[in-house]
Amino acid sequence: MGKIFAVVLVIVALVSAYPIIINKYAMPEDISTHGHMIDDQLHETMWEAGLSFIGAQLVLAFFIWSFTNRKAGSPLKSFPGGAKVMVIAAVVLVGTEILALGVMGQKAWGSVYFTAPKADALQIQAQAGQFAYYFRYPGADGKFGALHPDKIDEGNQNYFGLDPANEVEARDDIVSAELVVPLNREVQLLMHAKDVGHSFYVRELRIQQDFVPGLDLAVHFTATKVGRYEIVCTQLCGLGHYNMKAYLNVMAQPEYDKWMKDQAAAQ
């Protein structure tokens, strides 16, 4: 019975690792300037975790195979080196791994959170509410009108609660259900939650950030490939959570300028 288990264990471990080894379920192509650092970090970790996984399962299987149903009278043995070797091995191996990944990971994390966006980064406000996103561009004056939660009126398409009657900055603000950004231009996304917690996740962009009610956050990124990518919510936000999504539309600068002009004309 022990030998059967050992064989099952080896098969299970190898079959589990197989799709990862042949990269069957790959991450979607990265379209950001910082994403390759996250991908490298993930691949590095995959190597280390993968080897530990396979190594440990195979050793476990080998020992189960070798040390069950032994001949009567065969002496019990102790692992040469004893516990000390194990403790030293764990501290040195895992400790080195932690240091290596920690230093490397700090760089990737820092590229998203510790570097300030460039002064000319395009500012766009994103608002998440049950169960839709809206995006706001400051318009020709480069200034956002203030938000007034009491003035939110979805029937009249005043999703943000703007007050154009009294505030001049709000008059030229452009509101869109799609996040349109120019190619290779840094974007700073100012994140505002209307009701409960939501999240902004674009797989290709390697960006995931929660919207926190009462706490306006910002992330910045540069998209490097033209195309339309899904934005999905990853923070449980209520009954329509599964269906809360929008699109990130990356356009070359001339198309972007035209889109912006059309929007301004339509508002």
């Binding site: 019975m1 022990g2 288990f5 099952v8 299970v12 589990s16 990862i20 979607p28 993930l42 970790t45 975790a49 996984f53 440990a56 399962q57 476990l60 020992f63 189960i64 040390f67 069950t68 065969s74 019990l76 043995k77 102790s78 692992f79 516990a83 194990m86 403790v87 764990a90 895992v94 400790g95 932690i98 990944l101 920690g102 990971g105 994390w109 998203v112 938000l147 939110i152 209307k194 009701d195 409960v196 917690g197 999240s199 797989r203 929660d210 926190v212 009610p213 009462g214 899904e230 999905v232 919510c233 449980l236 936000c237 209520g238 009954l239 329509g240 959570h241 599964y242 269906n243 999504k245």
Partner: protein, 593 residues
């Protein structure tokens, strides 16, 4: 050998009458069984809910027979609504984490065996002990009530993030009364756990038999002791968090709700609160909770492995110190659940380091288990198979933690099925393997009858292979970026490839779940018809094996055991075989090379 000491007052009198014997019992053994029974009910409900969710995910428009009876609104015509999916998700998580993973490995086995393994007659506070079980039971009833109110169970998930959980009915179905029942249930559960933990700590420190020094306690007892220390601090934080949540919901306070929120077209009458405060309080409990589930399993598995290997571990002390370090570190890592929550990005790095560091004691333990197998004489039983299976699951669930501990990788994997795969393997499956191992191992002591070993092995193989089939593919889905907590997949990227993987998971879950009925049948059948068990069927060394099976109400029959040895004198030349019992004065000379 035991010694009759001077007559001493019993902790409590022998129970008389049905109610004192079986219902409001003060006997730690009955209370342990009550916890086990409650966990068993909860785990089958929780598993049933996961079946419903898995079926809905891959066949969203299918009618599930009988579902309409559970909720007419939630499943009109037997087809689940998106919000009812979230209700089931919330109830599944809450039942499994609180009523199964906290109750079974810790409260059930700990109650039964901690006093016995240290040579005590009962817990330090038997009445507290009875109260802690019945308070837990009340918490369970309050939670289950949510299924039967018109509003239905809450939809905010087992983590119940504010402000979704704090604003009441505007937040959606189930959030008016269902969410209040949830908060109340968890608050009651916290009180029960606090009572239980105090009792475990007092018992371990005060009631050890003569000669039972701390380092002579079995590893399982150490694990329950360390767990009760963690539990005392963790539930002491969750309790006020739940009280604040209930106040926000019903007393108009704003602990977790900031100003200016417009929910369901209504400007909420709150200001000044912080949603992140809830997350900090919740995860300050929530991460140690993972260790509350897994540490007792580690203890139980070590205890059983040693018995099955017929020789001691390379070092029991190193295992105990590793468990202590894990317990200590478990309080410094809660922020890794919040890397993308908007907390200061500096704190993410601060939380990442201790999280990665926890890998060191975990690796030490794994290597000690593996190294100890070398040169052993492993006895294959249902119990030892589950104990060996635990090591495999613990490794598989552990390595994925290495990804999630790194904030930069978490940017991509947070909120995906990768996380689901990780925590199900490490705290769900691994901890349950500990419970299964403990059940097959201790059942003879608890009932006086053996469980059927053949069925046990069949149960093991289906569960072992099945658990990998269910939870490994979750990691693949996560790598592609498949988001969790969706009631159906409307995303563009969910091509046929990924849906096939989801179908495979659902079918595996149905098969693996069905195999648990083999276990249930074995448990019930063996209780009444199993082969009678001897006092020491596994040739064990610890004190539970030096008393009758099942033990009398006062455990040692009025005698007070004296302990002469470290707990695991295996691989020796003893008068009864290759072991010397803890309470036997004979000398133990090791025969391990």
């Amino acid at each position: 050998m035991q010694e009759t000491s001077a007559p001493q007052a019993h902790v409590h009198a022998p129970p008389e009458g049905f109610i004192r014997k079986y219902v409001f019992s003060l006997d730690h053994k009955v209370i342990g069984k009550q916890y086990y029974a409650l966990a068993l009910v909860a785990v089958f409900i929780g598993m049933g809910l996961s079946w419903l969710m898995r079926i809905h995910l891959v066949w969203p428009n299918s009618r599930i027979p009988g579902l309409e009876l559970l909720s007419k609104v939630g499943a009109p015509g037997g087809v689940m609504t998106p919000e009812y999916y979230l209700s089931l998700l919330t109830m599944h998580g809450t039942l499994m984490v609180f009523f199964v993973l906290t109750n079974a490995p810790f409260a059930a086995f700990g109650n039964y065996f901690l006093p016995i393994q240290i040579g005590a007659e009962d817990m330090a506070f038997p009445r507290f002990n009875m109260m802690s079980f019945w308070t837990t039971f009340l918490a369970f009833v309050v939670l289950i009530l949510a299924f039967f109110i018109p509003d239905g169970p809450p939809i905010a998930g087992w983590t119940s993030y504010a402000p979704l959980s704090a604003v009441g009915k505007d937040a959606g179905p189930g959030m008016q009364w269902g969410a209040s029942l949830w908060g109340l249930s968890i608050a009651i559960f916290c009180i029960a756990s606090l009572l239980g933990s105090l009792n475990f700590i007092a018992t371990t420190l005060d009631l050890r038999a003569k000669g039972m020094t701390l380092m002579r306690m079995p590893i399982s007892t150490w694990a329950w002791f360390i767990t009760s220390c963690i539990s005392l601090l963790a539930f002491a934080v969750l309790l006020p968090a739940c009280i604040l949540l209930i106040l926000d919901r019903h007393a108009g306070t704003s602990f977790f709700i900031p100003a200016g929120l417009v929910i369901s077209d209504r400007l909420q009458p709150h200001s000044g609160g912080s949603p992140l405060l809830w997350q900090h309080l919740f995860w300050f409990f929530g991460h140690p909770e993972v260790y509350i589930a897994i540490l007792p399993a580690m203890g139980i598995v070590s205890h059983i492995l040693i018995n099955s290997m017929r020789k001691p571990l390379l070092s029991a002390k190193v295992i105990i110190y590793s468990m202590m370090s894990i317990g200590f570190l478990s309080y410094m890592v809660w922020g890794h659940h919040m890397f993308v929550s908007g907390m200061n990005p500096m704190s993410s790095l601060a939380f990442s380091f201790p999280t990665l560091t926890i890998t060191i004691p975990a690796t030490v333990m794994t290597l000690i288990w593996l190294g100890s197998l070398y040169g052993a004489d492993i006895q294959i039983t249902s119990a030892s198979l589950f104990a060996l299976g635990f090591i495999s699951m613990f490794v598989s669930g552990g390595v994925s933690g290495f990804f999630l501990a790194q904030p930069s990788i978490d940017i991509y994997l947070h909120g995906t099925y990768f996380v689901v795969g990780h925590f199900h393997l490490v705290m769900g499956v691994a901890a349950l393997f500990g419970v299964f191992a403990g059940t097959y191992f201790w059942f003879p002591k608890m009932t006086g009858r053996m469980m059927n070993d053949g069925w046990g092995k069949i149960h093991f193989f289906i569960t072992f292979i099945g658990a990998y089939c269910v939870f490994m593919p979750f990691h693949y889905l996560g790598l592609v970026g498949n988001v969790r907590r969706y009631s159906s997949f409307v995303d563009d990227f969910m091509g046929p490839d990924l849906m096939n993987l989801h179908r495979f998971i659902t079918i595996s879950a149905l098969v693996t779940g069905a195999a648990q009925f083999i276990f249930l049948f074995n448990l019930i059948y063996s209780r009444f018809k199993g082969t009678p068990a001897s006092d020491n069927p596994w040739n064990g060394t610890t004190l539970e094996w030096s008393m009758p099976s099942p033990p009398p109400w006062d455990n040692f029959g009025g005698k007070h055991p004296i302990v002469y040895h470290d707990p695991y004198q295996y691989g020796v030349k003893g008068s009864k075989g290759d072991f010397v019992m803890q309470d036997s004065p004979e000398q133990a000379i090791s025969s391990v090379d």
